[in-house]
């Protein structure tokens, strides 16, 4: 079933700063708050997080939008029921993540909720199931909700998707089909703990007191408009190694041969990884987290996470499509470069938000989370909060979305930061 909602707004658009060309700081009527919980009980966790995020009754008005990032371990129906109970009638989008980000850098958060409100904000949401595998059509329909937003100066379409087994590039294309180049896209794929089978999307339309739902295999969109500037930062910490290779054989996400040589053999040899690593699929996945495949774009190389290897077929399974006939690099990264990336992304996002972030939403790659570990995550959040002294919420995703120019916007191994100025 398709669900939609929209809220209606208020103020005029901010002007561009004549000197820097970036959006001038505007004191838009916008507020944010973040709530978090570490409770393993869905009802308690959602209740605690909502209680922290929602303003005291009558203090700042109802939120325009709630964003909820939930641990896959929680009972999804219980999460939906708790949302309905805790924030009735408030539009909400959310999904599960490898881990939740609250800006504190704690690994044990089970629910993180960000509330976005203010008279100078508006939002519309839509949840559209993917039928017959046509993710593009679902995304186009969902993103079309942005077309009803009022004419505020900044808009963004946040896309959450149950991304496993579908072409997320198609989700980006579908959303772009509807909103075109004037509205950027951000978001990511809901992540589970194991094999992406325990993922969930959460949506509450807010209309007519409809209850929140937990679902999968859908595209969930929250289109947000603000009178203040919105910035988006995208970065990864991987660098190409060696010489590029031709993908001489591939099938969607499975890379079969590189330069006519079995892809797995080439991968192990170039990274100097032992064959024995394949004895333990978990150990291989750990090693692969910092060693993606890089797809050559016009002016950049985009990493694609390597998820697994087929020892017998000597192939690599990647998180996104790797086109046959394309040119790829093997890439390498480490904790240090991954941490550098968060600072780069933060700078870009804050710059786009007029030099000051009043709230930040993070879509960080689950593979980066696996590589960083608890200490690295803590350090990552320290650096992020050092750059952006504002409420932060987000999650570690399975594939990231950020389209700011051109038409494509699917990423792996990447951190995407959305800043509201």
């Amino acid at each position: 079933m398709t669900q939609r909602t929209s809220t209606v707004p208020a103020t005029p658009a901010p002007a561009l700063d004549a000197g820097s060309g970036r959006p001038a700081p505007v004191d838009a009527d916008l507020w944010t708050a973040v709530g978090r919980s570490t409770s393993p009980d869905a009802t308690i966790a959602v209740g605690e997080a909502l209680a922290q995020a929602l303003p005291a009754s009558g203090a700042a008005g109802a939120p325009t939008l709630l964003m909820a990032f939930v641990a896959p371990s929680l009972d999804r129906d219980a999460v939906a029921a708790a949302i309905t109970a805790g924030a009735p009638g408030v539009p909400l989008v959310g999904c599960t993540g490898k881990a939740q980000i609250s800006g504190r850098g704690e690994v044990d958060d089970t629910v993180v909720v960000m509330a976005l409100g203010g008279a100078d904000t508006a939002c519309a949401t839509a949840l559209v199931p993917i039928v017959d595998g046509d993710a593009r059509a679902a995304a186009a329909e969902a993103a079309a909700c942005a077309l009803v937003l009022p004419d505020l100066s900044s808009k963004v379409v946040m896309v959450l998707v149950d991304g496993f087994g579908i072409d997320v590039d198609d989700v980006v294309r579908g959303a772009y089909d509807s909103v075109g180049p004037s509205i950027p896209l951000v978001g990511g794929g809901a992540a589970g703990e194991v094999q992406q089978i325990d993922v969930g999307l959460f949506h509450q339309s807010g209309a007519d007191g409809a209850p929140a739902v937990a679902t999968g295999r859908s595209v969930l969109v929250a289109a947000v408009a603000s009178a203040g500037p919105i910035g988006i930062g995208v970065a990864h910490g991987c660098a190409p190694i060696g010489q590029p290779m031709v993908v001489t054989s591939s099938e969607l996400r499975t890379v079969e041969t590189l330069d006519e040589t079995p892809a797995l053999d080439t991968y192990l040899a170039r990274h100097r990884l032992p064959e024995s690593l394949l004895d333990d699929p978990v150990a291989f996945a750990d090693a692969a987290r910092s060693r993606p495949v890089g797809i050559v774009r016009r002016d950049r190389i985009e990493p694609r996470s390597v998820l697994a290897a087929d020892r017998d077929a000597r192939t690599l399974l990647c998180a996104g499509p790797v086109a046959q006939g394309g040119l790829v690099w093997l890439m390498d990264g480490d904790v240090a470069t991954a941490l550098d990336a968060v600072e780069v992304a933060a700078d870009l996002a804050i710059d786009g938000a007029g030099g000051r972030a009043r709230a930040m939403v993070a879509f960080d790659c689950g593979a980066r989370w696996g590589m960083l570990g608890p200490d690295g995550m803590h350090e990552e959040m320290s650096r992020l909060t050092a750059h952006a002294a504002c409420p932060i919420a987000g999650l570690y995703t399975f594939g990231e979305i950020a389209r700011t120019s051109g038409t494509s916007g699917y990423h792996n191994q990447t951190i995407v930061l959305l800043a509201f100025g």
């Binding site: 077309l147 089909d177 075109g180 050559v296 086109a323 394309g326 120019s405 051109g406």
Partner: protein, 771 residues
């Protein structure tokens, strides 16, 4: 390939891959996605006949949509209130009549030259795909009218197949570029595809040389699809191919003979139509892809012109890597040099020699052709190795250049064959030069401290009016052949009779091959008689050719020709097989006594055949003949040619149980030391000594010595050519027991031999000889 070039090739490859499916509408959607994504453009639109067929990024922006539809400048910039500068590239989509365009817009960054080329290539590919799409739609409409429209449907299907084929080829080429195949391979693939996709035509790819004035042919593919390397050049600006380069645009000469761009040489060989389009690098023409046809009434239609342009753009794509162009230009220069020169000696090669000769022959210039072939060069190579052989060839080349004049052309044809083409006002001048060459090439070379004697067989022929280059070279070759068969190291001048003689030889050779295939060879038998008992103890099998018109021929009439052509080995084997077969029959009929033997001559060539032992063994086994009855006669010369090989062969034959004798003993130069080592059991005294036995003291002495030698070595001895009783008596007195010759019988056919000698002997039980 640079990353930029690789990236572009990759984009094109991925773009073409979009057209793999069956769903035409979906393919168009994906194609436009790929266009936009490849260059990070925000907008892309396909406009067909002025209407938007499909767009990307324009659903919510009607103002931009209208602006892009209206744009037909190839490259322009729109100033948009919302987005600022929007850079736009608009490329025509070739698809029948009408205005069709692919227009792409990008916010901020201007398009690079590489990106513009990519987008134009995509537009062209899209045009081909759209035509396919439309043809499919028509096909669907026609589906219900199959009965009455079957013929047009067939054409349609063919058209569809052709267009799919085009896409397949483009995809393959793009893959080759993407996969960084060698540039020459990519260009070959493009030329081959062009020839295949543009039927009834010959395609040529040319590249401007570094001088900039000329373009050399990289590859030519004919109507048979075979790719040839050519070395011809065209002048930039001349002809259809040359003007496509100078004018940097498509040139079409529908009616070639009447075209202002026609080149007489092409007109004269019947070219009816031609077109050429530039191959570019960074927008500048660096070559051209040219199609021409000989077919009457043939015209290259618009679709074929677009296809040629598309393929040329793919070649341009391959050249986007700066080094690729330099690599091919360097290899081109090298190829042009190599195509005219022999790499070992630096002399001109056959191609250049023939070209020069054709040029002179066309003008009936006074020309002498001198054909040089080194004597025994193969033996030098075999004995001392190829390095030594090569050094001698270089030495010979230097001597030839020394002795010839600047205007003469010296070429190495192949192996140890050289050709000199000399201007000579009269026959004597040419012959003098040939003589000097023969003299200069008679020398002792010192290679790696070895002294090797070198000589050459030289033939010369003067070009006569009306003769082609091939004619005069063949004449000189024939004269050289005469010099060679006359012992080498000499000069022979061509005369008209040589041709007739050679023709006769060739006829004989042909007849011999026919004779082998049609069982025209047989063996005759000459009895071997034991002098003491007057008993026939064996026979020598002698090959005869039952020639269909010339009657029965003895080896003297054909053996030289058979040896020179190599067919002697097959004749020997046939003769041996025949002899064994006869013997088998005689054994079965109990016509021969236990000690009866058959002797067969072996040629030197057969004796050197490494399969000889197996052949003889097989024949004996197949016919179930006692090997002890078979004697093989080998000449001294054959045995001594390669002592080690001879020893091995002879021991192998002996192990089969076969006996060996030395034929024509005394005429060769056997070393007695070797004779002792060889496992032979008899010597045959040559008939020339027997002939003079009673009249010439020397001959008598030789015969006597031979018999004594045989006795000393424990060998048997047989005298052949015994024609008179006096000779037989003398041989008997000297201790020779076995004789053969006309005194007893000429060689006779098997049936006659049986009748005269075996049945008689059988009846008489150890019977006596009757003459």
């Amino acid at each position: 390939m640079t990353i930029a070039a690789a990236w572009m090739a990759q984009q094109l490859a991925e773009f073409s891959a979009v057209f793999d499916g069956d769903d035409d509408e979906r393919r168009l959607v994906l194609a436009l996605d790929r266009v936009a994504e490849s260059v990070d453009a925000e907008f892309a639109v396909v406009v067909l006949d002025g209407a938007v067929r499909r767009d990307v990024g324009l659903a919510t922006d009607q103002r931009m949509r209208a602006a892009l539809i209206a744009t037909d400048d190839p490259v322009t910039v729109l100033d948009d209130a919302a987005f600022g500068e929007v850079h736009v590239v608009s490329a025509p989509i070739r698809r029948g009549d009408g205005a069709h365009r692919l227009t792409v817009g990008r916010v901020g960054d201007a398009f690079t030259a590489v990106e513009i080329t990519l987008l134009r290539s995509m537009a062209r590919t899209l045009g081909i795909a759209l035509q396919l799409h439309e043809a499919r739609a028509v096909e669907r409409d026609l589906h219900n009218e199959i009965a009455e429209r079957s013929r047009s449907n067939a054409r349609l299907v063919e058209d569809l197949s052709q267009r799919q084929l085009v896409l397949d080829h483009l995809f393959r080429i793009q893959r080759a570029i993407t996969e960084r195949a060698p540039i020459a391979d990519v260009l070959d693939a493009i030329t081959r595809s062009a020839a295949l996709l543009i039927p009834s035509s010959i395609l040529g790819l040319r590249l401007v040389e570094q001088s900039g004035d000329t373009a050399a042919t990289i590859a030519i593919v004919g109507e048979d699809g075979e790719l040839q390397r050519a070395s011809d050049r065209i002048r930039v600006g001349e002809g259809v191919a040359g003007r496509a380069i100078s004018d940097n645009c498509l040139i079409v000469a529908d009616d070639y003979p009447l075209s202002a761009d026609a080149i007489e040489a092409w007109v004269s060989i019947g070219v009816t139509t031609s077109m050429a389009t530039p191959v570019r690098r960074n927008g500048q023409a660096v070559g051209s892809l040219c199609a021409m046809s000989w077919k009457e009434g043939r015209r290259f239609d618009e679709a074929e012109q677009h296809l040629l342009q598309s393929l040329a753009e793919h070649a341009s794509l391959a050249f986007n890597d700066a080094s690729a162009l330099e690599v091919i230009q360097r290899s081109l220069e090298r190829a042009v040099f190599d195509s005219h020169h022999d790499q070992l000696t630096g002399l001109a090669n056959r191609k250049q020699a023939i070209e020069r000769l054709e040029e002179w022959a066309a003008h009936d210039a006074d020309t002498t052709v001198i054909f040089v072939d080194l004597d025994r060069f193969k033996s030098v190579n075999d004995a001392y190795g190829h390095n030594t052989g090569d050094e001698i060839l270089r030495n010979v080349a230097a001597r030839l250049e020394e002795v010839t004049r600047v205007d003469d052309l010296v070429a190495r044809l192949s192996g140890d064959e050289f050709l000199v083409i000399a201007r000579s006002p009269d026959e004597a001048t040419g012959t003098d030069l040939a003589g000097r060459i023969a003299e200069a090439l008679s020398f002792t070379a010192t290679v790696e401290r070895r002294e090797i004697r070198v000589s050459a067989s030289v033939g010369c022929a003067r070009h006569l009016p009306g003769e082609t280059a091939d004619d005069v070279v063949a004449n000189a070759d024939l004269a050289m052949y005469r010099a060679k068969v006359s012992g080498g190291g000499q000069l022979v001048r061509y005369d008209g009779e040589m041709r007739a003689a050679r023709t006769a030889e060739l006829t004989l050779d042909r007849e011999l091959r026919y004779a082998v295939d049609h069982n025209e060879f047989d063996v005759y038998f000459q009895p071997v008689v034991d002098l003491a008992s007057d008993r026939v103890i064996g026979a020598e099998a002698l090959v005869r050719w039952n020639h269909p018109t010339r009657g029965v021929l003895a080896p003297g009439a054909f053996i030289v020709a058979a040896e020179s052509s190599g067919i002697v080995r097959e004749i020997d084997t046939l003769a041996t097989e025949r002899a064994i077969r006869y013997l088998q029959g005689w054994e079965r009929r109990r016509l021969v006594p236990a000690d009866f033997r058959i002797s067969v001559n072996m040629s030197a060539r057969q004796f050197r055949d490494r399969s000889l032992i197996a052949t003889i063994g097989t024949l004996l086994a197949e016919h179930d003949v006692d090997p002890g009855r078979l004697w093989l006669e080998i000449t001294e010369t054959a045995m001594m040619r390669d002592v080690d090989l001879s020893l091995g062969t002879m021991h192998g034959l002996r192990e089969l149980g076969v006996h060996l004798s030395v034929d024509d003993f005394g005429t060769g130069w056997s070393s007695l030391a070797y004779l002792k080592q060889f496992p032979v059991e008899a010597l045959k005294i040559d008939q020339s000594f027997v002939a003079g036995l009673c009249t010439n003291g020397d001959d008598r002495a030789i015969v006597e010595a031979t018999i004594q030698l045989a006795g000393a070595l424990g060998l048997g001895v047989i005298a052949e050519g015994v024609e008179e009783q006096e000779q037989a008596d003398a041989l008997g007195r000297l201790g020779c027991r076995s004789v053969q010759g006309y005194l007893y019988s000429r060689p006779v056919p098997a049936h006659e031999f049986v009748q005269r000698w075996l049945q008689l002997a059988s009846a008489a039980t150890g019977g006596s000889v009757s003459t």
